[in-house]
């Protein structure tokens, strides 16, 4: 709380026009909507998964089918052989409502973000690797300093380093589109109109399995993202994403 007071007083001392926002309002709003949506999708997704914690490859899979792998947890359905002697409470109803409602919000937010990015060249300016980044030395130095858990220099609060750029672009351009696509590939109505959405993955159960692994990748990203922010100074990096104002000159910790 002390940090916030410090930040607002220091910000108000400088004329507004001279303060360059670290993150634009649209980036901040879409960031936090997406963050909230991801948590809701994760919780509701896990609840849905509990009703059938088995994964398959191909078109079909059920309790008569040999699974690709099983998640070693009890199920909310008595018919699923889990090896546990009990059945978890069924939470599928609200989970499914929440999952699909949140999916809409995150997809619409993503569309807004992409339109904004195209209009302002946000990705080119802030996320595509800079010319100087296209070198093996920059890459290996970045990897080495990350592996040492070195605290990044203050200047990095103003722009992203190479590994950040790669990670964020991977999430925005690969993981999110893939998790949305595999989600749609499980919709019987959607694939009736666009069969290629599911045949491209080799079947509905394959799409479900990929959906699961992409979710794991997104979860891994979220955890690393939070660890890295903590390492760089949690409030100094979180505040610009909330207020837009940088908190770099006097790094509060």
């Amino acid at each position: 709380m002390g940090d916030i007071a410090w930040l607002s007083s220091s910000a108000s001392a400088i004329p507004a026009a001279t303060v360059r926002a670290r993150h634009s309002a649209l980036v901040r709003v879409t960031h936090w909507i997406t963050a909230l949506c991801f948590v809701a999708l994760l919780i509701s997704g896990v609840e849905i998964l509990i009703s059938h914690p088995r994964f398959y490859w191909g078109e079909t899979g059920n309790i008569n089918t040999t699974p690709l792998f099983k998640i070693p947890i009890p199920s909310s359905r008595a018919l699923v052989p889990t090896g546990y002697g009990y059945v978890l409470p069924d939470q599928n109803g609200w989970s499914r409502y929440l999952h699909f409602q949140t999916a809409w919000i995150v997809v619409l937010t993503g569309i807004l973000y992409i339109i904004y990015s195209l209009l302002t060249a946000h990705l080119q300016k802030n996320l595509f690797p800079r010319k100087a980044d296209f070198s093996w030395r920059v890459f290996s130095n970045e990897v080495a300093s990350h592996l040492r858990f070195a605290r990044p220099p203050a200047a990095e609060a103003w722009s992203y380093n190479l590994l950040q750029r790669i990670a964020y672009l991977f999430v925005i351009l690969i993981l999110f589109p893939l998790v949305i696509w595999t989600g749609l590939a499980m919709s019987p109505a959607f694939v009736s109109a666009v069969p290629a959405a599911v045949t491209a993955f080799g079947g509905q159960q394959s799409a479900r399995t990929i959906h699961f692994f992409v979710t794991l990748a997104l979860l891994l990203f979220l955890l690393i993202h939070i660890v890295m922010i903590a390492l760089a100074g949690f409030w100094s990096r979180t505040q610009p994403m909330i207020t837009g104002r940088p908190a770099t000159s006097k790094e509060p910790t």
Binding site: S51, R54, E59, N62, L79, N92, M186
Partner: protein, 252 residues
């Protein structure tokens, strides 16, 4: 918040006004075309209100994917069921000879069909996937009479908007809109994989709605009502499913 310039403020204002007007117009059009799902209320209403009309615009005439005979799941999958009632067992003991499908509501010729009546109509078959909302699925050949054929036989009113269908189990009923009801793959199924429809899979008669999740394919159908208003049934949510927390429209 950041300091908005006048231009930003005006642009944002215009965009917000356009957005609000757009939503208002969209809502009116959706209402007029019956694109508002019966379970549009409550905290999850937004998702359903977006799902259903967007699917209707995209998928009105699309066909569920069909598979080859070699892709039929063996052994066939039968989900867990509530214990069968005595009334069902009596009909079963009689070889379902007394099973009747009664059809009423907005029809010019209400009727009750025996299984033999239904089987005398031109039969159709499809090899489609039944995907459960839980995540499992199986492929089977479904044999039956298209629901549209029965609706024609009873003279369904052109202004009818929904067909509600009821299981022999009084707590189990559902409904589809008229688009889904007239869809060529929406069947009253009495056969499966070349034989009779097993009781475990909803025999002697089950609704088959292959473009929606498995729970819309209600088992043991005994009654259909053609209607233009789902408010008259149950809690007015269009199905027993939303009463238990599951969406009415299950094309997802």
């Amino acid at each position: 918040m950041s300091h908005l310039s006048r231009r930003q403020l005006i642009t944002t204002g215009i965009a917000a006004a356009a957005g609000a007007t757009g939503l208002g117009v969209a809502a009116t059009i959706a209402q007029k075309n019956g694109l508002i799902p019966p379970d549009h209320g409550g905290i999850y209403g937004l998702g359903e209100t977006l799902n259903y009309p967007s699917h209707r615009l995209l998928t009105s005439h699309s066909l569920a994917r069909e598979f080859s005979r070699s892709q039929i799941s063996q052994p066939p999958m039968a989900n867990e069921m509530a214990p069968l009632q005595d009334s069902f067992k009596r009909l079963q003991a009689g070889g379902f000879a007394d099973w009747r499908l009664s059809v009423d509501g907005m029809v010019s010729r209400p009727a009750a069909f025996s299984l033999a009546d239904l089987k005398s109509y031109p039969s159709r078959s499809q090899i489609t996937q039944l995907a459960c909302e839980e995540g499992w699925s199986y492929i089977a050949e479904w044999i039956g009479v298209p629901l549209s054929h029965v609706l024609e036989a009873v003279g369904a009113h052109p202004k009818a908007r929904y067909v509600a269908y009821f299981s022999v189990d009084p707590g189990w009923w559902d409904s589809v809109d008229i688009t889904e009801a007239h869809h060529p793959q929406t069947f009253l199924a009495y056969g499966m994989n070349g034989g009779e429809l097993p009781v475990g899979n909803g025999g002697p008669l089950r609704m088959r709605v292959p473009r929606q999740l498995g729970y819309k394919s209600v088992k043991f159908i005994t009654h259909l009502t053609v209607t233009d208003n789902l408010k008259e049934f149950g809690k007015g949510l269009g199905s027993a499913s939303p009463e238990g927390g599951y969406a009415w429209y299950a094309g997802i």
